[in-house]
């Protein structure tokens, strides 16, 4: 996180302005002090302190300034290592115990995906164990219109947004069902017709009440999605568009966002070039877990590999926290370590973008979640 390690003085002035000292902290309030506190990809506070109360962050700033103001009743936890915001996955289907695709029809825009989400499902604990504290609940790729997604936390069942986006898919799995449409041309024709009719979820998307996620994979599918979005004048998140780097200028100009599949061992070099192009063009991008079989720990590991390849570390850490929060429209609640946001925090043994770093503890809504030793499996 060595991008711009602010000196403690400057950071303190910036953050104290928040209404920290306004209400007096309650009895259960506690403070976390860590060698490095990563507010977001851009700012890291040396020897920083985070005051947590009632599931929210009350104050963030250098320990030198804040520790003095704390009442001695407040519990203080010292941590040698890093403290960061919880990782936000752009998409995921954790908790969808009865499956993320309903085969009733190809077009189920108004189906509420939150109704299939079980907050106590064991896979969520694995995600928390890897430092992922919230993600965009979305559908599988089995339908052209999979349903309306939500934004949920991986522990405690908090729903940040009960209906956040319409999940579309223009990739082969959605066209293999024994029903209309069985071709790209048929799917594009049907989707465009529904947007012009403007009924139900499609209408809400046109009116701007709902976000839009289009799942694609090959370059011609990205091209087709961009042409469709240009014709309908809509903005969307392209899920699984690993080749988006080839379209970076067009994506930036149209204001779309990209949810990539996580990097891993054996990733081919064009993926790093694609991410570099997205960073240079300023296209917001994040990593998603919906289309990968591997565990949640591959998000941080992939970002660490990208950092080793020389991609900007600040942009990479933002792509795990602030960017997905903004793309899912919940940057007021999660994604950064700042006063007023939820207390979703993670303690690491070192810089999380280093391969040798392990996870020490996870807090969701201020409550510590039983952290598994080492990288969660």
């Amino acid at each position: 996180m060595g991008i711009s390690t602010l000196t403690s003085a400057l950071a303190g002035a910036l953050l104290l302005a928040a209404p920290a000292a306004a209400e007096t902290p309650s009895a259960e309030a506690f403070a976390l002090i860590a060698d490095h506190v990563a507010v977001d990809g851009g700012t890291v506070i040396e020897n920083g302190l985070v005051l947590v109360d009632g599931g929210k962050i009350l104050a963030v700033g250098p320990a030198a300034d804040l520790q003095g103001t704390l009442a001695d009743t407040i519990r203080v936890i010292e941590h040698e290592g890093w403290l960061t915001a919880g990782i936000v996955a752009a998409n995921g289907t954790y908790g969808m115990v009865s499956g993320a695709d309903d085969s009733t029809r190809a077009f189920l825009g108004d189906l509420e995906l939150r109704d299939g989400f079980d907050p106590d499902d064991s896979s969520l604990a694995k995600a928390t164990g890897a430092g992922v504290t919230s993600f965009g609940l979305t559908s599988g790729r089995g339908n052209v219109a999979g349903g309306t997604g939500a934004v949920v936390k991986t522990s405690g069942g908090t729903m940040l947004n009960e209906s956040s986006h319409l999940a579309l898919c223009l990739a082969p799995p959605a066209l293999r069902g024994n029903r209309f449409p069985t071709s790209y041309a048929g799917a594009v024709h049907a989707v465009e017709a529904r947007f012009t009719e403007g009924q139900g979820a499609f209408g809400k998307v046109v009116a701007g009440e709902l976000g839009l996620e289009v799942a694609v994979s090959a370059r011609h599918e990205i091209r087709r999605a961009l042409d469709l979005l240009k014709r309908t004048g809509l903005k969307a998140t392209l899920r699984g568009a690993d080749r988006a780097g080839d379209f970076a200028p067009e994506l930036a100009e149209a204001g779309h966002a990209v949810a990539l599949s996580p990097l891993g061992m054996g990733t081919s070099p064009w993926r790093y070039e694609s991410i570099t192009a997205l960073v240079e063009a300023g296209v917001p991008f994040a990593f998603g877990l919906a289309d990968t079989g591997s565990g949640a720990d591959c998000l941080r590991f992939g970002a660490a590999l990208a950092a080793r390849e020389g991609i900007d570390r600040g942009a990479l850490w933002n792509s795990l926290t602030a960017s997905p929060a903004a793309m899912l429209g919940v940057s007021g609640r999660v994604g950064r370590v700042a006063a007023g946001l939820d207390a979703d925090l993670v303690l690491w043994s070192g810089d999380p973008l280093e391969l040798t770093t392990t996870l020490e503890a996870v807090y969701v809504d201020g409550a510590q979640v039983e952290a598994t030793e080492g990288d969660a499996k």
Partner: protein, 474 residues
Amino acid sequence: MLPTSLTRSLTLLLAVGAPLWALTDDPAPAPVETPEETPAPEEPVEEEPVEVVAPAEPATLLRAERVHVRPGEVLENAEVLIRGGFIVAVGQGLEVDEDTIIVEGKEVCAGFIDPWSTLGIDSASASDLGTEASTATAKAASPFGEKYARQWAREAGVLMTRTQVGQNAFVGGLGAILRPSASAEHLVVLDDANLNVTCGVSRGGRGDVFDRVMEADRIGSMISGGLSYREAQVEYAYELKEWEAAIAEKEAELEKDFKKAKKDREKEIEKAEEKDKEFKEERYKEDKRPRTPRYDADSEVFARVAHGELPLVVEAHGAAELRALLAATEGFGRLRLVISGATGAAPFAKQLAERDIAVLLQPLAPGARANGERSGFDNSLFGTLAEAGVEVLIGTGGDRAADLPILAHLAIAGGLEREAAFEALTLGAARTFDLADRFGSVEVGKVAELLVLDGAPLQGRPTHVFTAGEVVEL
């Protein structure tokens, strides 16, 4: 505890001169003789390399802020002088003539070695299940393979790999040490690095625990088969020598008595003619020549393994297989065993340390699948084994040797010391496969297989690479 007859015959064997196996033509061609690679001597003794006559091409001087001579030993602001592909001097202020090539860098260390790889051969050879003990990886090695994997390996600092054919087969054959990104004449560094065997590995269906454990016993019996094969050869050589001496003596005697025998015979013939009886030749008897033992290339390999001339790498994962394997290989004093995979090796840490058995592990990266016998592998095994004093090596297990530094980081996250990880990638791997006399560290007399990095050995990326006798800028 060696059987006495064996020791006697061993001494005799050495006395007989050229080792026995040279008698019959070993179909595998003589190990590739390239000027700077002297064949691996019997004992890895530190002997001075033959003094290379002053070559025409100029020397090269590497100057760096830190030179990692050996793991744990670093020289500050030092220089390394290289001539004819060999390190001729390490120190400060070395004298240099005007046409010496000067290369500057932050840090210098020995090139990394991936001791568990399939880079440098075609993928069919790597996964061939039809291999035997004498199948040689060097035969399938070629500079024409997939070029990117080799280039990326060199750019990551992995200059040499122990490449293995038939790595899933029960008996995989002879592994080889290769320079995957080098040209044809520098490709094969050592064409008989080890014998590779697997115990309880799934080859399409894993069978039940009894099959897997039974494989350990078969390995034990093959090694003892090797011992008895060598014994039979030594015995034959001894008996043949005795027989030849006896026959030569007899022949001289016959030569001497020939005239007398001839006269006796003529008399006999005359007598027979007189008695009109048919003359019967006198019967001649001599003891038979000892039978040459049938040459078997595979037993030959097991003989060399049993005598410790070749390390034996056994891939075994489950606790049941490991226990059976340790028991089956108990009695062979000179066997040099390396266990690879070792997913369930934690409970045997002490035993492995005592018997000085090296363990070759493939760290598990997030997102990589560990199923079948590998399921349950955890990187913390590195810390557990290191604490118990076991020599731990790190390998990629496939054709992506460029991932070795990344896997080393995951091993460090699993509890292995940074210094131990660096040793595993250099001197440790070299020592295990009889390369320590020529590779593995930055010392005078060794082959110059070096990295010039822009940071600490695992942290930084190589800016220059010195390999196969030439410096390559990346």
